[in-house]
Symmetry: C2
Subunit: 139 residues, 2 copies
DNA sequence: CCTACAACCTCCAGCGACTAGAGATTCAAG
DNA sequence: CTTGAATCTCTAGTCGCTGGAGGTTGTAGG
């Protein structure tokens, strides 16, 4: 197994420039090169990149992924830290959901009350123009 | 009413550099200046900036706000477009909520199944390393 | 062996929506 | 008139990529 960056891209679903970017920021190691300076990867890199992609899809930040990767390299250590990172992230996701849910209900109200007439009577515009028109204290 | 940018900032809750940024990108008009080139604002600008802030808090993008502002300046026109923008945004917010909810349940599962032992057995790490461990097809 | 051409290389700029800092100037109060 | 907080412009940085220019390499077919 000695694949090019394009093949790694296909194997992982991560775009080629993104792989190079991950190398630049230290998420992926600098791989060996051919005589012509092209990158060549092995199985470990496929696994590592899949780990990264998956973590990104779950919304972990690059800094958190860096820590998670470092942990997965030390299988004998305690996983308390990984747990803590995941919990922190979960709390953040929940915070974002709550916030978006508040926005959703405000937007629903705006849209529902719009009588589809002139701008002058439009609830959408009115609510934006005057905070007191808001039902919730979401902001 | 002839206030400085700092007073406008206090009146609107928008930071001073952000107000200058809004001017730069054309959301706020270039205001008159004192002899010493300092910006001076009137009531219209306070209202406009509150409109912008509120729309941003509701998650509207700057481009959408630009359109909403243009509409609020034409009170006699139909508000169908404002309605459409709000609906599009609502749909986007709902999409984000659904996505985050899927992430949340995956994270909850990860965290719940973590037995707080060694990294080698950590569910958090395992799930990240292998997509097949995922309960949902959220990604 | 030679040619074509897809894939690769590096470097740099841009996205959105700010935020922060340097270094110079101005306003307003005392 | 002095002081010092506030303002000014300009530039660069944030995050996580993404795209392009312009040049080089790998590989398959003839």
């Amino acid at each position: 197994m000695n694949i090019s960056i394009g093949e790694l891209s296909r194997a992982s679903g991560v775009k080629v420039p993104t792989i190079r970017y991950y190398e630049q920021v230290g998420l992926m190691p600098a791989p060996p090169r051919t005589d012509g300076k092209q990158r060549r990867y092995g199985e470990a890199e496929v696994a590592r990149l899949n780990f990264i992609r998956h973590a990104r899809e779950l919304g972990f930040e690059v800094e958190a992924i860096r820590e998670l990767l470092a942990m997965s390299g030390n299988p004998d250590r305690s996983c308390a830290e990984a747990d803590a990172i995941a919990r922190r992230h979960l709390a953040e996701v929940e915070r974002r959901i709550d916030r978006l849910a508040a926005l959703r209900s405000e937007l629903q109200r705006m849209v529902a009350e719009c009588s589809h007439g002139r701008v002058a009577e439009c609830r959408v515009i009115q609510v934006l123009a005057d905070h007191r028109e808001c039902a919730h204290e979401h902001h």
